[in-house]
Symmetry: C2
Subunit: 192 residues, 2 copies
């Protein structure tokens, strides 16, 4: 068989794909525990892979961090799609927001990491803003359509509120507060 077009490409090697996955998973753990300046060699070790392999897949620390972040955002997006099939739309929205809080809370290093994003690649910012807005919109629209909550709060505002809740909370043990604030806010969205 001849090449399909000018750009002859082999199928990517299976080990390459596998290693990429492993690195991403390891990086999520290591960054979560140690913040965004954690050792990359630790990431490679955790992934059971040579340091060279890490650098081939992710040439810079930022590239790796970006990939991890994108992955997390994608997971939240998938969660939103699952929750969109739940019976109670308001509950679904609440659960998704709480999942956000838990995500950030569990991975304490992520807070610092998020602040780097705030000053980093605007590609990444645009991507995650859109993806997150869509996720919220999905859940919000359903609840609005069901006539259960008010219709004058756009998804962007809800996203910004969420970020505000994260940012305002300083150090330790803020998770309960954040969860409460989410609760209050969702209740506030309810039609009376």
């Amino acid at each position: 068989m001849r090449p399909e077009n000018a750009k002859t490409r082999r199928k990517p090697r299976a080990d390459s794909l596998r290693n990429r996955e492993r690195l991403l998973e390891a990086a999520t753990q290591i960054f979560s525990a140690g913040g965004p300046q954690a050792s990359l060699e630790a990431v490679a070790r955790q992934a059971g892979v040579g340091i060279g392999t890490l650098y081939r897949h992710f040439p810079t620390r930022e590239a790796l961090f970006e990939a991890v972040y994108r992955h997390e955002v994608d997971l939240l997006g998938e969660l939103a799609e699952e929750l969109a099939h739940e019976d109670d739309p308001v509950e679904a929205l609440r659960k998704w927001l709480q999942a956000n809080v838990r995500l950030v809370a569990t991975k304490k290093g992520m807070i610092e990491a998020l602040q780097l994003v705030a000053h980093g690649s605007s590609d990444l910012k645009a991507y995650s803003f859109e993806r997150m807005t869509n996720s919220i919109g999905l859940l919000l629209d359903r609840a609005v359509a069901a006539g259960e909550i008010r219709s004058d709060v756009p998804p962007e505002d809800l996203l910004r509120t969420l970020v505000g809740i994260f940012y305002s909370q300083g150090t330790t043990d803020w998770q309960p507060t954040a969860l409460r604030l989410v609760d209050v806010f969702v209740d506030g969205l309810r039609k009376r």
Copy 2:
């Protein structure tokens, strides 16, 4: 002459004081250019001092950073006191706020550094919050007393607004925007 009290203390050595000064100055430059994780050995080099000397004066990176930050806050405090002798109180206020913008703008690494403070020692937070609030109060009160601006904006609110202006601005070339916002805000404070 006998010791004045139980805690006999020699006069601190002149070279010690001098080196401390030099380190502080060097650290301000290095951190400004390279952000809060810049090399401490570079700081020592820049100060013309051994690395051991740096560590004796500032046992941790945070200690050094804290000292730099305190120093900057103190400088702003002194500037406020100077400006309090200017003829036009509203202009004085405006100048002080603009000095803040310029300080942060010139020292781009400081932005990241500030974010660390936000999650760091609450001693430092308390100190700088008070010192900054006082500086603003000094200038604000004079302008209020002169009957030139409204009296229902407390210094704390102005400080938070300032921080908000810094935080909202993302990456490059935000200085003009920030200066404009300060202008708008000061004009808004004026009685009509």
